[in-house]
Symmetry: C2
Subunit: 247 residues, 2 copies
DNA sequence: TGTCACTTTCCGGTAATGCCGGAAAAAGAA
DNA sequence: TTCTTTTTCCGGCATTACCGGAAAGTGACA
């Protein structure tokens, strides 16, 4: 299904930072011919996935909004997570994210903006991050099957490498998988501390990750408290999904 | 681009009422072979547009949420409409919709739930409606080019027909285009009164329709007031988009 | 206004691949 | 278990997505 993969590549080019693209820009980004990209983009605009503002200016289209509304109405995960996240936000005012992963990519399902005078921008966590670069992604990695993890590592730890020490990462992931929790900076930014906890569904499968990202200063004052409220909230979501802790 | 059209067809099968489908169900709905549908759905799940819950149970996927968040952050229309709609909701408490259209289909961009004891369900307006069945869609039709309207009519007024009187509809559309406003029931439901007004962008093009749907009883009491607040709100959105009324 | 540089759009030939029916595998139902 | 239903896999064929090149369109600049 080459067409669909390309379609996905094109869709992923549209981000909050770059919400608008021309045909040539997309063809460069996706490494395809201009004319081929034109056909693709034209089709996507025809079904409403993209919207053609002007000659050669494309943005995400109205179908995205339509689909999102049905997702919103029907997603058990969102339904379970929203109230818990809202409560967490009300209590602590820190920036929150709910993520999933998809074929080695981090997907942002829900983001809530912190309400404090000094708080973390909600855009720090997003699809632009490699999985291993921040706690949410590492938690996703930690729930990969061994074979899948192998494949991911083979793909990303090769040349000069995104992953510096493969052995180190694997060891970390084992610990993370055991705890269902990870914390650390986001990428290289030592001013941020991201705390991430696993969300499990009724069958005990890892379906998502809840994370709270706070300024390192505030975190340093009471690290254990932050850790426990994050884990606690993630567990509440899991329970709402039908997970029973003590089986 | 057959693949993309099919992809669109599949996506549109997912609604708030039917958020989950099996492969065979989708193949029936889209009138394609089971195996072909399987390939398609598999690919869509691979890029995250769909999510495979279990063997043969598909829902919309996390990519939809991700894309929506970037749309939300970047869409000038949403940015302009949201505050106006929120204000309108606060003032009157009636159910609101912001729609666009796409190749003869009604697309729901934003919906806000009424806050009164008796109010209209937000699901009455949606992609399931034919364009001519409710005021928002008629307003979209009214801004079609003559040729495009011809094509649409040819397609929908044929056999025993969705459109009963073609001449009547055309006359109505001319009036609607002139006023930038339409009101009437939603489909056959005479208990509902939907008031819809056109939203124009900086270049004076019709980009969306704002509508307010109220119980007929409340509407009958002060029809002119409802009409004017709806038109007023739509104009506010247009102005926020850069439209200048008195050119 | 005319020229130039660039981008988008159109178009036809061809290699690739999406599509289909049929078989196998998996999951329930009884 | 056995039977039924649904999903998944597979190979061959026809369709079509893809590409390069040409044409049309757009904006910049003098």
């Amino acid at each position: 299904m080459k067409t669909i993969r390309k379609l996905g590549d094109v869709l992923r080019c549209f981000t909050a930072e770059e919400p608008e693209h021309s045909v040539t820009a997309l063809s460069r980004l996706t490494q395809n011919s201009v004319s081929g990209t034109h056909d693709l983009v034209d089709g996507m605009a025809a079904i409403g996935l993209l919207h053609k503002i002007q000659r050669g200016r494309y943005r995400l289209g109205p179908l995205v909004a339509t689909l999102y509304h049905t997702l919103e109405d029907s997603s058990v995960l969102l339904g379970a997570a929203r109230p818990v996240m809202a409560r967490l936000l009300a209590d602590h005012g820190e920036t929150l994210h709910l993520t999933m992963h998809d074929h080695g990519r981090l997907l942002l399902v829900e983001a809530m903006d912190g309400s404090r005078p000094l708080n973390v921008s909600p855009t720090v966590i997003g699809p632009h991050l490699m999985l291993h670069e921040a706690p949410p992604g590492r938690l996703h990695l930690a729930s990969f099957s061994p074979a899948r993890l192998q494949a991911w590592l083979d793909q990303h730890s090769r040349p000069g490498g995104a992953v510096i020490s493969r052995e180190r990462l694997v060891a970390d992931l084992q610990r993370i998988a055991r705890d269902g929790f990870d914390s650390g900076p986001v990428g290289e930014d030592a001013d941020l501390m991201c705390l991430a906890a696993r969300v499990l569904d009724h069958a005990g499968r890892a379906v998502a990750v809840l994370s709270m990202t706070v300024p390192e200063g505030r975190h340093a004052r009471q690290p254990r408290a932050f850790r426990s409220v994050t884990i606690e909230a993630a567990q509440q979501i899991s329970v709402r999904l039908g997970y029973r802790a003590a089986l």
